[in-house]
Symmetry: C2
Subunit: 541 residues, 2 copies
Amino acid sequence: MTDDTRNSIHTGQDAIVEALGKGKLKRVRKLVRPMHPGKLASLLEALEPDQRQTVWQQVADEDEAAVLRHLDPQMAATLHRDSDHGDVDADLHDQEENVFTHIGSVRDALQAGKYKRVGKVFRHMHPAKAAGLLEALPPDERSAVWETLDSERSGKVLVHLHEEVRAKLALEMDDEELVAAARKLDLDDLVDLIQALPSGSGRQLLLSMDEQKRKQIAEMLSYHEDSAGGLMNVDHISVRADVRIGSVLRYLRLLEDLPDHTDKVMVVDRKNRYLGVLRLSRMVTSLPEAKVSEVMDDEFKPISVESSSHEVARLFEDLDMLSAGVVDGDGLLLGRITVDDVMDIIREDSERAMMNMAGLDEEADMFAPILTSTRRRSVWLGINLITAFLAAWVIGQFQGTLEQIVALAVLMPIVASMGGIAGSQTLTLVIRGLALGQVVGGNARVLLIKELGIGLLNGVLWALVVAALAILWFGSWQIGGIIGAAILLNLVCAALAGLVIPLVLRRFGIDPALAGGVILTTVTDVVGFFAFLGLATLLLI
Amino acid sequence: MTDDTRNSIHTGQDAIVEALGKGKLKRVRKLVRPMHPGKLASLLEALEPDQRQTVWQQVADEDEAAVLRHLDPQMAATLHRDSDHGDVDADLHDQEENVFTHIGSVRDALQAGKYKRVGKVFRHMHPAKAAGLLEALPPDERSAVWETLDSERSGKVLVHLHEEVRAKLALEMDDEELVAAARKLDLDDLVDLIQALPSGSGRQLLLSMDEQKRKQIAEMLSYHEDSAGGLMNVDHISVRADVRIGSVLRYLRLLEDLPDHTDKVMVVDRKNRYLGVLRLSRMVTSLPEAKVSEVMDDEFKPISVESSSHEVARLFEDLDMLSAGVVDGDGLLLGRITVDDVMDIIREDSERAMMNMAGLDEEADMFAPILTSTRRRSVWLGINLITAFLAAWVIGQFQGTLEQIVALAVLMPIVASMGGIAGSQTLTLVIRGLALGQVVGGNARVLLIKELGIGLLNGVLWALVVAALAILWFGSWQIGGIIGAAILLNLVCAALAGLVIPLVLRRFGIDPALAGGVILTTVTDVVGFFAFLGLATLLLI
């Protein structure tokens, strides 16, 4: 061994050890891959056992045999065992349970330093699944896995992540990696990614594109994220109405592969104005001599670029569409929306409603730092505290009564709680009705009568039950009568509040799922405490 | 006029008046349509004005002119005005807002007896939209509209209704109408309909089918409604791997129209075993001489007939599929599932989670009779009452303390309420994580540490705030300290409960969205009251 090679091993080793110390596995991989097998073997022998294993995990599968040949036999055997081929594929067959087994197996593999195994699991997985799995990992393990992915994969996974995690992982990549990851993305996904990135990185990414793509992206960025313009892609194929099916087929054959989710091509006139659609299913059943205008569907309505994503989702659902063209105000064809994006909207809408009800942000990371999560959640707790103090203030007005009859303090949470539950039943029904477009001015009065009827009947029923139990407990007919009356009153008010609150919030453009619950329980608490303690003060003191 | 015609007019009139009295507009229509225009005119003149208008609304558009010619000019003018042509189409253009305008306009038209206008609105509408609109109408108006629909339309609308409304409207049809309505349905929709009908009508409907269809339906009924077998349709097209694309195209041309949502045909062997798929988009870009085996996708995995609908939905979402084949355990192709059914599942899943949280059934009719709704909702109120009494019992243990320091009664709802909100934040996050498969044994411990950390930090923050406010209000450092400690303890317990409760419920196969909230607030109420009043008793008394 000359001084020179020794030096270069040491230089290589230094750089690698430095990268290992910083957890930059990608850099380790970059340094290790071009090395001569013999050199790499010497380097491996010179490392500490745990570092050795980590470096070994960065060696490409196809180079392993060559490196092993240069190693001391015992070490070779140990490392070969570590490579852990084979059982990953078996795991992947069991489609249903695999997220379950994977989270466990990925975390085990990471803790054991088996980066190859992890890389393999992620390479075999659909990007959406990989994104779900990444989100289920704590941040440090998430970064470690992220390091094992190559850039093409990273881009596709980024698209499927919730915004907060996406921005964080994108920031862990250097600009060059980010550009490589973005290269393979569809235009609509690229736009989403740029929107989710901090503006500096987003700008950098945009500048890396060629002139034409940059122009397209800039145009798409001008539409609101939650509009048809923000959802559409510009990968549609359009044909003229006066050509023959045979020519269309020849044209498509030139393209070789159609964009994903192409179930129809758009038919436009000379000025790119939307005329209708030509379904592939119609194309394959038509004679080549037929003209496009004879077999196209000109009743199939395009979507306006201004429509909200919510309206787009309802149209897709109601009309069972797979894709639809997007047009501007003048009827010019701008792009198309496909059903896969719509499914994401539906899922996100329902996630948002559920998360908003608890005052959470649906794009937030499940494993965000504790301080960040605490700050976010404390806002909701603060709002609730104001309403709780309002309820406490109502109770405080009756301190004199409570001092004399302490049984009231024992029973009062029951009145508030029953009202809260009954009100939230009406509220939930109305929120769903609003989401489906089934509750509007036209039938709100009928619904009001029905809900008040239910409130009255359930009020009478539970007033009797609670009154009986209160009489048994405290032996006082008067307390029984008072709590019964308070419950009846509170349940009727709850029905009224459950219907009116979401309608009013909607009128002011506030999402009823977000604020409805808090306002409702404030109303039922205040009405419940006031009715119960007020009646007691009037009748018993 | 001979006695005979006079008689027949009177017989016709009697039957029609009888049908009118019972609100059987369909029957009126059946009686009116075959009548001679002159006869019909005499009959109209003989009727009371409001009955006349109702009968007039049942006359077919194309017969109107002939009947009008036989009428007294003034009456003819009045009736012609009633027909109300023209402005329906204008309404239909405005796609976004139309449910809004429609509910109002339908109800107005029904109240004015303009059945023709209503019939037209419904005839122009997509069945899913018509179903949504029907559900938004009160039951009697719903039945009146239902009477105006012809059977083909009725069948398609039935499919899109929630179960309770569907069963009710199906029962309003006689057997003959139901059979006619079912004739045009896809097999999977037919199976859904039969499952939703009371068993008598379902059996009747099944018996009306021909041998082959009955056998197919019986087979599909044998799969669970919420499995891939229950979702699949048998309208797939399958081809052999060894034929040429040109032959496939010729075969498809013979079919003229492909089933809805055909984006691919299935490739099978001689024994109908699944081999892969041939995409239409690939078919149109291939040369006619190419063999199916060369351009098919044999990596595209079929769905097992045993998969749950939840698994099917996740597969469609993760893999962005438009349709997929369904196979049995031996790999035999049984049918296919299309993305439109999957969108329904996603929507239903999210509806179910939201409705279940309030103890409501997502298939229930918004306008179910008051008594029915009251009975259903009272179950949930009853369960809540038990937990409310549990909380009251805890307070009851401290009556002695409350008697001495009534300020405690004023403040105690604040402790319970803050715990409830903090707990529901953790609960919601975990329920979503479970639904997405992101919270499992493998990372529950990390999540626990994170949530406890948040509970602790938010606990300290709000303990200080509430303590300060309590000291200001009641001027007692001791009460401030006690309520602060109770809030801190309750928020930490809430984080623990929010994580543990859904995991335990899931283990026992109970939907965490259904029972999680009630159990959680019970825990936070009990812990909150016990900690606050218990500490006060120890330290102040």
